[in-house]
Symmetry: C2
Subunit: 105 residues, 2 copies
């Protein structure tokens, strides 16, 4: 039951990088859009109200850190979240935000 909370500096950097990726509203919305099922770039752009170019730039970062995986289907490329931990974390935090909304003093 005793949880390990002391991590090395390298691990802190690694972990912070994951959080940093979710620490931008545009990128977070992109990840959210791809959490449940694969979405193509233009759909992501439409649902997030971001330009396709910007979405593509962010997708590159999310791809590089393996938070999302892309698969080409014809002209389109579909992206989906890969990491179950990330899915859990985001889901939990979304729940946190949406639940504690009325209780915000």
């Amino acid at each position: 039951m005793n949880k390990r909370l002391s991590i090395s500096d390298d691990q802190a950097v690694e972990l912070a990088e994951l959080f940093r990726l979710m620490g931008d509203a545009s990128r977070l919305k992109i990840v959210l859009a791809c959490l449940q099922k694969p979405q193509c770039v233009s759909t992501i752009a439409a649902t997030t109200h971001l330009s396709p170019s910007l979405v593509s730039h962010h997708l590159r970062l999310l791809r590089a850190t393996r938070m999302l995986r892309g698969e080409r289907r014809g002209k389109q490329v579909f992206y989906v979240a890969t990491d179950a931990h990330v899915q859990c974390v985001i889901t939990d935090m979304v729940a946190h935000i949406t639940e504690s909304e009325a209780a915000d003093s």
Copy 2:
């Protein structure tokens, strides 16, 4: 069982801000140091290998978003993590990092 994953733009910004705070290695280490029990600033600075000034600057941000709470005891101020959700999220992600270390292809 159907989890809410679509959030408003404002909520995305709010959520991203929480992640962004943890998205800096220095700040993440500070939060980690205060997760289990209250720590004073100089102790935090010592364990994180950061200057007291830098720690104090980061603490201000963490205080402002209510991730940490500070309490004065004599000359020292002790900080501790307030939000259980944040504790969970960080603990989960730490577990994620430390577990999947060997399996990193």
